[in-house]
């Protein structure tokens, strides 16, 4: 008994020491839905976390908890971070929205940043990237590179973000190649190399010669390389996994946002906000274009990048028709954020039916 008591006391003292040490540092916590080694979504958020450490050095301390389930566990993990002295907490999956808001109510002094949700509070901000701008660029490239005019698209869950990507891609694809069509496979996961690879194989068997993915593992690009077709990477530059097949990739870049928000907390200027950054703010980037892409196609892609940044071009520029051929966005108009955020219909040129419709 005595020894156990001593051990407890020693451990408690250690805990106290750690607490005192951390008092003058800003502790920044991250809750991840996947493993940091996924080479995609979570990996890119973790790169953002490391950017905070690199920028602020001794002034901050960062923590992460990986592979947190979106069920009942997330609320406890978020609360544990809040109650262990973290002043800024990033929760980086849609399913963490309600738990984040619940915990935020109990910890009004802690700042929360939730990625991809829509619920905000005085101490809860939301942020997301306009990945669909990158889809436009990859649509232009895919339209020029396809020979079979069949594009395979591996989609995760039928939420607006993913549907928006499919639509932006398809609009750009058919702008340069009106005969091209898009086949979509829903894999109902963000990260499952086996399933993603199988979906890629099935799409290639159906004639697809460019594979797009809205899932996070490099498996589809690897399959594409093996089968001699093209691929567009997701979330991070996947060139090293499939150097021949990898046309480009849509890179999530959270570094500058994470650094800016951390700085705001350090300066005491942090305020609730809703940030939706795209190519212009650097939250979305295109990976280097494959040297096999003809020069004029690269020039077209780069021009489109510049035009989106300058506002000359919008990924959803009317007229935009839905699958039934009905004009949803009239000529001269562009889709507003409200329409983009709740998009649950396919544009013309996408094959199949949206699940749940």
């Amino acid at each position: 008994m005595k020894r156990a008591g001593l051990l407890l006391a020693a451990a408690a003292a250690l805990g106290l020491a750690a607490g005192a040490q951390a008092a003058d540092k800003l502790k920044v916590g991250f809750v991840y839905v996947g493993p940091i080694g996924d080479h995609g979504w979570t990996y890119r958020h973790d790169v953002g976390r490391l950017a905070i450490e690199k920028t602020f050095g001794d002034k901050v301390e960062t923590t992460y908890v990986e592979s947190v389930s979106e069920g009942a566990d997330s609320e406890r993990v978020i609360r544990q971070l809040a109650s262990t002295g973290h002043g800024l907490i990033f929760t980086t999956s849609f399913g963490f929205m309600n738990p984040t808001v619940k915990v935020a109510k109990k910890f009004p002094k802690v700042k929360f940043e939730h990625c991809s949700g829509y619920k905000r509070a005085a101490n809860v901000s939301t942020y997301l990237a306009r990945f669909y701008e990158g889809r436009t660029i990859s649509g232009l490239v895919a339209g020029k590179m396809t020979k079979s005019n069949v594009i395979g698209y591996i989609a995760s869950f039928p939420i607006p973000e993913v549907v928006r990507g499919i639509n932006a891609f398809t609009l750009a694809l058919r702008e340069v190649n009106p005969k091209a069509e898009v086949k979509v496979v829903w894999v109902n996961t963000w990260y499952d190399p086996g399933k993603e690879g199988d979906a890629a194989k099935a799409l290639i068997d159906q004639g697809a010669d460019v594979i797009l993915q809205h899932t996070d593992s490099p498996a589809p690009a690897q399959i594409a390389q093996k089968r001699g077709v093209w691929a567009v990477g997701q979330a991070s530059d996947m060139t090293k996994f499939a150097p021949r097949a990898h046309l480009t990739a849509i890179i999530d870049n959270w570094d500058s946002y994470y650094v800016a928000r951390t700085k705001a907390v350090l300066d005491g200027t942090w305020k609730e906000s809703d940030v939706w950054g795209g190519l212009k703010s650097g939250m979305v980037e295109m990976a280097p274009y494959n040297s096999a892409i003809p020069k004029d196609v690269v020039a077209l892609a780069k021009q489109a990048e510049a035009d989106i940044k300058s506002g000359k071009r919008h990924p959803f520029q009317g007229p935009v028709r839905n699958q039934a051929g009905k004009v949803v966005i009239p000529e001269g108009k562009t889709a507003d954020d409200k329409m983009l955020l709740s998009m649950d219909w396919y544009v013309e040129g996408v094959q199949g039916k949206l699940p749940g419709k």
Partner: protein
């Protein structure tokens, strides 16, 4: 000369009860060695992993929240496993319970009545029961292996939930995101400790433990289960119906998993999500065995496994240790438990074998 295993003449009952404690002790010792090898202070690491998570009242309440589904499912599974009925699909039955219980909550949205929760519980139980009855029917009728059928039905259940929250049950004000609306207060389990998520599910779990214990030790059903498990031939001579036991154990374990699923969505989650379980149905299999297939043992095992999850989270936060550590601890615990089990049933002998004894085959 290779060591070999010889069966012992008798298995000590005291040792059977002691081995889980020995396994925990060995796990701790191995943990100390591992932390020291990784360059961490073993005392502080073990404290963070096993003590700190429950050093506050909130921590204890979270331990109970996490252990509740594991215990409820584990008790149902233990009954079946004792009768050699291998229900591996508790995850699916849990999901069906969440779907049916949650469905009632959504259908009765706006109804302020104390009857909402009992109705949800009944629906959850029936949902899990139905999902357990399918493998029972396939086994009894077509002799289809319930390990495979119950496991495969898990994926059906997950996809059904996914369809519902992406489609008909989607929150009308949720911008098409895949989750149901939040349940009303009348569809949420009453919290029994302020400022925590500890609900009446925890005391109900204790009642289920007690009921499971009584069934096994006092009821004729429990006797039949034990006889079938230990000696199927003796059971058939005694005229016990194997079919009836398959039906009963699969339905009961399904119903309990369904109840646990309903508790989860009407308790800590409070809505339907594409993900309602971080694998409770599968973890409960470990819990059942760790608890010696005994309801009280299952209760302790569920607390221990729940603690390993909480400790894993805290170790990531406080010590920046990797998540894999949780898996390593659970793996070591099982390894030492199975290892000590082998050693109480067999003795290790070196040297040439005297009288030729056939090595018993595991199975």
């Amino acid at each position: 000369m290779l060591p070999r295993l010889e069966p012992r003449s008798g298995v000590s009952a005291a040792m059977m009860l002691l081995t889980p404690a020995i396994a925990v002790g060995l796990t701790l010792i191995a943990g100390v060695i591992m932390f020291a090898a990784l360059g961490f202070d073993p005392g502080r690491a073990l404290y963070t992993f096993f003590v700190k998570p429950v050093s506050t009242l909130y921590g204890v309440s979270e331990l109970l929240v996490k252990a509740t589904p594991l215990a409820i499912i584990g008790i149902g599974l233990a009954l079946g496993f004792r009768a050699n009925v291998w229900n591996i699909g508790a995850e699916g039955q849990f999901t069906l319970g969440a779907i049916c219980g949650g469905g009632v909550a959504l259908a009765l949205h706006g109804v302020e009545s104390w009857l909402v929760l009992p109705a949800m519980a009944v629906a959850g139980i029936l949902g899990g029961l139905a999902w357990g009855a399918i493998p029972a029917l396939l086994r009894v009728r077509f002799n289809a292996n319930e390990i495979l059928t119950s496991l495969m039905l898990t994926y059906v259940a997950t996809l059904l939930l996914s369809y519902l929250v992406h489609g008909p049950w989607r929150d009308p004000d949720g911008l098409n995101f895949p989750e149901s609306r939040m349940f009303e207060d009348s569809a949420l389990l009453p919290v029994i400790l302020d400022e925590t998520r500890l609900s009446i599910a925890a005391p109900i779990t204790l009642l289920i433990v007690l009921a499971g214990w009584l069934v096994l030790s006092r009821a004729f059903l429990g006797f039949q289960i034990k006889v079938v498990g230990q000696s199927p031939a003796a059971a058939s001579y005694a005229g016990f119906s194997e079919k009836r036991l398959i039906w009963t154990t699969l339905c009961v374990s399904g119903a309990l998993a369904g109840l646990a699923g309903m508790f989860e969505v009407s308790g800590p989650i409070g809505q339907l999500h594409p993900v309602v379980s971080p694998g409770y149905g599968f973890t409960a299999i470990i819990v059942a065995f760790l608890g010696r297939l005994h309801p009280v043992g299952v209760l302790f095992a569920s607390l221990l496994i729940a603690l390993s999850y909480l400790g894993g989270e805290l170790a990531q936060i406080e010590l920046k240790l990797p998540l894999a550590l949780t898996g390593v601890f659970q793996g070591m615990l099982l390894f030492f438990l199975l290892g000590t089990d082998v050693l109480i049933r067999y003795r290790v002998r070196f040297g040439r074998r005297g009288a030729q004894i056939a090595l018993p085959q595991g199975g």
